[in-house]
């Protein structure tokens, strides 16, 4: 049975606490973009994707490509809490010889479907996996999480054309539309709006949704799974730094170092 939105919220809170602890312990890491994407990944891993954490390489599992790879802390915490590996491993994040490298490495971390790092490259990977699924008659779906700033990258738009041209309805991309990137607002740096319309003109089925509302996310992902002949983009409106008031909407928390004091304050705010 899938968890209720309230249960998902509770899981998200635990994951957010993990993310803060990991980044404090590591002394570096991307907080803002991890926190904005936690709910999206929790929805996917607990409610949407067909996976078997006890059989991470099950051939028919749904795949997830974290194109905005700097949100690795969120993905690592999600995988640990979902049972892929020990939660204690999270404390080794970014440390020498850790299995949890700064950016996801499929050869060291259980449950990672594709090694990723450099922004802009994930959607092409997702398309390739989806094409192979179709060639082999497999039913699994491929999910790809993209940052909005990341959507500046030209390769994203090449991949957007490819997915639509090949009618890859087993591809579902999610944009973490927090309106921020590293140096400031996406709209001040190089405007993306109207981003939904761009994907529509690229022949994608577009669903707009509040990226922190589990009920809406659940229906959006169901709708995506029912669309035939076209890939779907879930345009998820999110808040960078979600859950920690002093980080919310603040670009400087993209990768600022967390102090002990602020860590305590953030944990209190999360509750």
């Amino acid at each position: 049975m899938s968890p209720t939105p309230i249960e998902l919220k509770d899981i998200s809170k635990i994951v957010r606490r993990d993310v803060l602890t990991m980044v404090l312990e590591a002394g570096s890491g991307h907080l803002g973009g991890s926190l904005s994407a936690v709910d999206l990944m929790v929805a996917l891993y607990w409610d949407v994707m067909r996976i078997r954490p006890d059989h991470p390489v099950w051939e028919d599992r749904d795949r997830f490509v974290l194109s905005k790879a700097h949100a690795a802390p969120a993905l690592y915490a999600v995988l640990a809490r979902r049972g892929y590996y020990d939660v204690k491993d999270l404390l080794t994040f970014r440390k020498l010889k850790s299995r949890l490298q700064g950016f996801p490495d499929m050869h060291t971390t259980i449950g990672i479907d594709a090694s990723v790092g450099s922004p802009g490259q994930g959607l092409s990977i997702a398309n390739g996996i989806a094409m192979a699924a179709r060639m082999d008659g497999r039913q699994f779906r491929v999910y790809c999480l993209i940052g909005d700033g990341e959507a500046h990258e030209g390769q994203i738009w090449e991949a957007a054309m490819t997915a639509a041209h090949h009618n890859l309805d087993n591809v579902c991309a999610i944009i973490d539309r927090n309106m921020m990137m590293g140096d400031g607002s996406t709209e001040d740096i190089v405007a993306l709006s109207p981003l939904e319309d761009k994907w529509r003109t690229f022949n994608w089925h577009v669903i707009e949704v509040d990226g922190h509302d589990f009920e809406r996310l659940g229906s959006a992902f169901s709708e995506a799974a029912s669309v035939k002949g076209r890939p779907t983009l879930i345009h998820a409106r999110t808040v960078k730094g979600k859950g920690v008031p002093f980080m919310e909407g603040k670009p400087e928390w993209h990768d600022r170092k967390l102090t002990e004091e602020l860590y305590e304050e953030a944990m209190r705010a999360l509750g």
Binding site: S28, K95, D105, D183
Partner: protein, 333 residues
């Protein structure tokens, strides 16, 4: 070598600074001196060393977002229209992601676009292998007309930035945000294309660039105590390589070690090997660097030790080439 104006690494407390600070000072100085300079960044102003420039000269600064390829192409256009352009992004994004644009637009057109690789080498630390750029020097070095400079410290980084503005064609300069020891001063001579002897010696030579210059000087000190006299050369310009100084070191000391915070494939070690293999006297050489593999997560100084990039590793390499040179001499006899 008092005339080099070097910091004495034996006693004074060694100060450290990130080379991207030197980049920033150089950019500001250029603008203040009236150069028609335009600085571009790809959403990295927070860490690449352009944020102060952005504040002081907003009209000369362009943040293009995550559009590295477009940035470098636009930089080409600005250069064609007469601007002195500095484009800034992570080392591997400049050298890797935008390589074809650098090749086919900038180098083919021989344009004055200076490409600044931020956070190169192992400096990205915790971010790990995908972000650390170990191959940038090698891939940039293959491009016709490209100048490649790896400054030893922040002081030299400033000089390299200013020098790049005066070089008509493209220059790749490698910077980093990890703090590294300052070994040079404003008095230390710096000319692109001319390597500099920082310590004389007759038994072997270490040619180093970047942070490895400091490590090489330390290694040479410790080898002195063992009775080995080691020459240390700051080979900041990988291309065009100062062949004269390399050949002289080969002839006079007969054993060479190169040291760089990058891949052993095609970087400084590759450049020196190519020169040596075609010189009059084949010379034993050891390349100290990262052996054809990706980096990994860890703190910068931990990683330097982990990958064998310390004074101790250089000293071991020097002993090894020196013994090979002796072996060769015995065979000749």
């Amino acid at each position: 070598m008092a005339e080099m104006g070097l910091v004495d690494i034996r006693h004074s407390v060694i100060e450290t600074e990130a080379t991207n600070e030197g980049y920033e000072r150089g950019l500001i100085e250029l603008a203040e001196r009236g150069f028609d300079v335009i600085v571009m960044d790809a959403d990295l102003a927070g860490s690449s060393g352009t944020s102060e420039f952005r504040k002081l000269f907003p009209d000369r600064f362009l943040d293009v977002g995550l559009c590295e390829q477009d940035m470098i192409g636009t930089g080409a256009g600005l250069a064609l229209a007469g601007k002195c352009v500095f484009v800034t992004t992570h080392g591997m994004l400049a050298a890797g992601k935008a390589w074809d644009i650098i090749r086919s637009t900038i180098c083919y057109g021989s344009l004055n676009v200076n490409i600044c690789g931020a956070d190169a080498g192992l400096s990205a630390g915790g971010a790990g292998g995908s972000r650390q750029s170990l191959e940038d020097v090698a891939v940039m070095r293959t491009l016709p007309g490209m100048t490649v400079v790896v400054p030893a410290d922040a002081v030299e980084a400033r000089k390299a930035t200013i020098a790049a503005a005066r070089i008509p064609g493209p220059v790749y300069i490698r910077f980093a945000s990890a703090r590294v020891p300052i070994v040079t001063t404003d008095m230390t001579p710096f000319t692109v294309g001319q390597a500099a002897v920082y310590k004389q010696g007759g038994d072997a030579t270490v040619l180093a660039c970047g942070v490895m210059v400091y490590e090489a000087l330390k290694a040479a000190r410790s080898l002195e105590d063992e009775g080995l006299s080691v020459r240390v050369i700051n080979c900041h310009t990988i291309k065009p390589l100062d062949r004269a100084i390399v050949n002289r070191a080969a002839v006079e000391t007969g054993a060479l070690v190169t040291a760089e915070e990058g891949s052993t494939v095609g970087g400084l070690g590759g450049a020196v090997s190519e020169a040596l293999a075609q010189s009059v006297r084949p010379t034993p050489i050891r390349i100290v660097g990262i052996e054809d593999r990706f980096g990994e997560s860890g703190r910068h100084e931990q990683l330097l030790a982990h990958f064998g990039l310390t004074a101790r590793d250089i000293a071991a390499a020097v002993r090894e080439v020196h013994s090979r040179k002796r072996g060769a001499a015995e065979i000749e006899e």
